[in-house]
């Protein structure tokens, strides 16, 4: 061993531990821990240069994650409301389908605007490469637009018709309706669930410590998508009810509230799981916890017939804020951890 090692007490480095199969092959001579086991505090880094490159993504990506989630959540809620709730929830399904479509419209433009070379956006679809979450996401988003269009087309064909009228209108129209339902439900619901969760998987494919391989993130984004999607449907139904459109908001309130509450609970559990697994302070995450709790409290406040819809609107808006804040918090946590010279791998 060269003399300077013993003089400074610096833990020696060298090949001995390679034989012991420890880490990269740093020795643990003299009882000192192998360098590979030591933390950032004991080994200086390279000046204050971060080890990782910060993401080049802008805020647009948080808005896309948010709107994609709202769209997917509203889509699943409204399709299931019609499929399992029957004619009672037809007006709600119409509102929800329109909300899902409206939230989906800005998604692709947001993604394209975030590219370094937007003119080459179509290169995303030149290969089918599901091992890349972003490529899979591009295909899912494209296919989801198709399913959403089928659901919208069906709403358009059924406009102003009662349910029994719809059932007997000739073979061609019935077959078209059946086909559209199949595309919208059998195709659309799984696609919507994938759209809601792939964005989480996408982030976990980053090497930044706040995202890397974190299985809580997709679960968190799924839960947040359902809570914010149901909230968006609730918000639209109540708001349209205020301006005299019949959205059957009174009938839908009960089931929608249960969906929102369960989704909020799942969101809080997965958020706590995420925060405890990243082992770094993410103070902004409190915003989402408070928004979810506030939304639940607001909806449960005793109120008369006149005040009820306004409390629901406020609750839904708070839930939507929490969902955007969550995406922005998680994205920013990734930026911060990549820019932190202390976060060494």
């Amino acid at each position: 061993m060269p003399p300077h090692d013993t003089q400074t007490g610096r833990p020696p480095v060298g090949p001995q531990v390679m034989a012991e199969g420890r880490g990269l092959g740093f020795p643990a001579a003299g009882g000192a821990p192998a360098l590979s086991d030591r933390t950032a505090e004991t080994v200086p880094g390279y000046y204050d240069v971060p080890m990782l490159k910060p993401p080049v993504w802008k805020d647009l990506i948080s808005w896309y994650f948010f709107l994609g989630g709202v769209s997917a959540g509203a889509y699943v809620t409204s399709r299931l409301a019609e499929r399992y709730g029957g004619p009672k929830f037809r007006p709600l399904a119409t509102v929800g389908t329109c909300v899902a479509a409206a939230a989906a419209v800005p998604c692709a433009p947001l993604l394209i605007a975030d590219l370094g070379d937007p003119k080459r956006f179509h290169h995303m679809l030149r290969v089918f490469k599901p091992e890349s979450p972003m490529n899979l996401g591009a295909w899912v988003l494209t296919a989801y637009h198709g399913a959403g269009a089928a659901a919208l087309a069906r709403e358009w064909l059924r406009r102003g018709k009662a349910d029994d009228e719809q059932k007997n209108q000739g073979f061609v129209r019935n077959a078209a309706d059946g086909l559209l339902v199949a595309v919208a439900d059998v195709g659309g619901i799984p696609l919507a669930l994938l759209l809601a969760s792939y964005t989480g998987v996408l982030l976990t494919g980053g090497a930044t410590p706040a995202w890397c391989k974190n299985a809580w993130l997709p679960a968190l984004f799924s839960a947040s998508a359902v809570s914010s999607g149901a909230s968006a449907v609730s918000l639209a139904a109540e708001a349209l009810g205020r301006v005299g459109v019949d959205t059957a908001a009174d009938v839908a309130r009960g089931p929608l509230h249960i969906v929102q509450s369960v989704a909020h609970l799942a969101e809080v559990i997965t958020l706590v799981g995420y925060l405890s697994s990243v082992r770094r302070a993410v103070p902004a995450a409190w915003g989402t916890l408070v928004a979810a709790a506030g939304a639940e409290v607001l909806r449960r406040l005793p109120a008369g017939r006149r005040l009820r819809p306004w409390l629901d609107i406020g609750s839904a808006a708070l839930s939507l804020f929490g969902a955007y804040h969550l995406r922005s918090t998680v994205v920013n946590a990734g930026h911060d951890s990549a820019n932190d010279p202390q976060s060494r791998l």
Partner: protein, 285 residues
């Protein structure tokens, strides 16, 4: 409205996309797989490799910033910096030494940038190197976050991702990469990595015989989630001192549980929705 010029630009980009080129993950032990062996004990910090790389690849200057980091004003690799000479004055209470090594893309087998690339722009070329096809990249930036070595970055100039090509163009003409050619001390060596690894192991043994017990190889065998890297290093201190990760993750490996977690929560909440709407439908009108 979208100007006509933009539409014609998009049309002009269309043929570039086809046919997609997909190549298998190279076998690190194959004879034709080329790579770098960078020896920190031979590096004199002259930065000839940085200059040769910029000259050959026609990369623009990064500006003149005085960092105060000893003789390193380059700081890190980037879209227009494909070789970076780390230069560190390591000072302890009674000892000081210079740490120098020329950092470069590791050209990982099973590279996360290649896997993350949604356009298929990043491929393995016939020399087993990870290569970004500049006419395909659309600047999505996913490779930038996927790389645990902080190598690849998106250029502010053209919006595309760039990194070391291992001088693909020179290699096709039978020449060695510009950095290895210019290195005055042979600290950067180029060749089939199988041979380089043997040469590097001999070098480590020789250094140990000379009493330089700290010498070890970084990336010649497995490191973190990775098998042998196609550019590996001989170092004399902890990797963090050179800004290299001790346990680089391969973040895109084994994604199935993550998809499963996301879809399970989504499906469970969808089942709750189906149940509550179904119950409400059965309830008295």
């Amino acid at each position: 409205m979208i100007p006509l010029a933009v539409l014609t630009d998009i049309a002009a980009e269309l043929p570039n996309a086809f046919p997609p080129r997909r190549t298998p993950v190279p076998d690190a032990d194959a004879d034709e797989v080329m790579g770098f062996f960078t020896d920190a004990t031979l590096c004199i910090g002259c930065k000839a490799c940085e200059v040769a790389c910029k000259q050959w690849n026609q990369l623009p200057a990064d500006g003149l910033e005085f960092t105060g980091y000893s003789y390193d004003n380059t700081k890190h690799l980037g879209a227009t910096t494909w070789r970076h000479v780390a230069f560190k004055e390591k000072i302890t209470p009674d000892f000081g030494k210079w740490l120098m090594v020329s950092d470069v893309c590791k050209h990982c087998a099973a590279a996360p940038c290649q896997q993350s690339c949604p356009t298929g722009s990043i491929v393995y070329n016939e020399f087993g190197s990870v290569y970004v096809q500049p006419d395909i990249c659309n600047g999505c930036g996913y490779c930038v976050v996927a790389c645990p070595f902080g190598v690849i970055d998106r250029s502010m100039i053209d919006g595309h991702a760039h990194k070391c090509t291992l001088c693909f163009d020179r290699q096709t003409e039978g020449m060695e990469p510009a950095c290895a050619k210019s290195c005055p001390t042979d600290s950067i060596q180029f060749g089939p990595i199988k041979q380089l690894r043997e040469r590097a192991r001999e070098r480590v043994e020789r250094l140990h015989e000379q009493g330089r017990a700290d010498a070890y190889l970084y990336g010649a065998d497995s490191v973190g989630d990775y098998g042998p890297l196609h550019s590996f290093f001989l170092l004399e201190d902890h990797p963090h001192e050179y800004n290299l990760p001790v346990a680089p993750p391969q973040p895109l490996r084994n994604q199935a549980p993550r998809y499963a977690a996301g879809l399970a929560v989504g499906a469970a909440l969808a089942a709750v929705a189906a149940f509550v709407f179904g119950r409400a439908a059965r309830a008295a009108p």
